[in-house]
């Protein structure tokens, strides 16, 4: 099963993962990492590498980040560029995270990320009649 790791500024990662469980139930291989205000980029790299050590090389990892160009995104992308078993999706929100968790069974990383990109527009909008 594809591993999911949410990496964001501040406590959002922990919050969104806990909240997602209200929709998905307890899940394996869903983890988070918080980039806190007083952390340097190097510390985040160390923590991220620590998390990735727990995942076997042949397994696939989908990293969700909060914002394009943010430090969690910049740091994570270094690992996804040269490794087809790692993907980084930016702009995570609750529906996208829940969809990923519930759709990953039996999927490969490419198919899952394509599905998320296709459905991402539907997760944002204005409530109108």
């Amino acid at each position: 099963m594809i591993h999911i790791l949410v990496v964001t500024h501040g406590l959002m990662a922990e919050g969104i993962v806990q909240t997602a469980k209200m929709f998905t139930g307890e899940q394996e291989n869903v983890d988070y990492l918080s980039f806190k205000e007083d952390m340097g980029q190097e510390e985040l790299i160390e923590l991220l590498e620590e998390k990735m050590k727990g995942i076997a090389k042949e397994e696939q990892l989908l990293i969700f980040c909060d914002i394009l160009g943010g430090t969690p995104f910049n740091v994570s992308s270094r690992y996804s560029f040269n490794n087809e078993n790692i993907a980084v999706f930016y702009g995570v929100n609750l529906p996208i995270l829940v969809t990923a968790i519930l759709s990953r069974e039996g999927q490969n990383l490419n198919d899952l990320t394509s599905l998320l990109v296709e459905s991402s527009n539907e997760s944002l909008g204005l409530s109108t009649l």
Binding site: E37, D38, G40, Q41, G69, G70, T71, F73, N74
Partner: protein
């Protein structure tokens, strides 16, 4: 060009830049003056990815950046980013004219002393910041524009 914000930030382009500083600087262009980034294709790709599509990005070595800034006579508003105090001093001594430098993140590394959560310095940083201050440049510590400005020299010499 018109350098509306000159910032020291070891992370170069990241969340605080993308969400807040570009708008505050009313910048149409970002110049990253950094020898390391200018010679690292991978980091250049990342910096380009991080930059909003409507902003022109130039990544140059420090000396090339100085040359380009001096030669450009347009009124383009520019956000200028360097990695640390050393590069900032190099820019100023090379003739880049600004009155103020914003200090964003100078971060935790072994052997550095904490001044603020976003500001960790060693004796070389202090020497470079002091030289900048002696050249009449005010050193404004703010991670984001809406934060209260603090004077770096006052904090360092406290």
């Amino acid at each position: 060009m018109n350098i509306t914000v000159f910032r020291i930030d070891e992370r170069l382009i990241h969340g605080q830049i993308v969400t807040a500083w570009i708008a505050y600087a009313e910048a149409n262009q970002i110049i990253v003056a950094d020898d390391k980034a200018a010679n690292d294709e991978f980091q250049k790709t990342l910096l380009q990815l991080a930059t909003p599509k409507n902003i022109n990005l130039k990544i140059l070595g420090v000396e090339d950046a100085i040359k380009m800034i001096k030669e450009d006579t347009s009124d383009t508003k520019v956000l200028l980013l360097v990695r640390g105090p050393k590069e900032a001093l190099q820019m100023i001594e090379g003739g880049v004219a600004v009155k103020e430098i914003n200090i964003g993140n100078i971060n935790m590394k072994k052997g550095k002393t904490k001044v603020l959560g976003n500001l960790w310095i060693d004796s070389e940083d202090i020497s470079n910041l002091t030289k900048l201050s002696e050249l009449g440049i005010s050193l404004d510590i703010r991670t984001v524009p809406n934060e209260r400005s603090q004077d770096a020299m006052k904090l360092i010499h406290k």
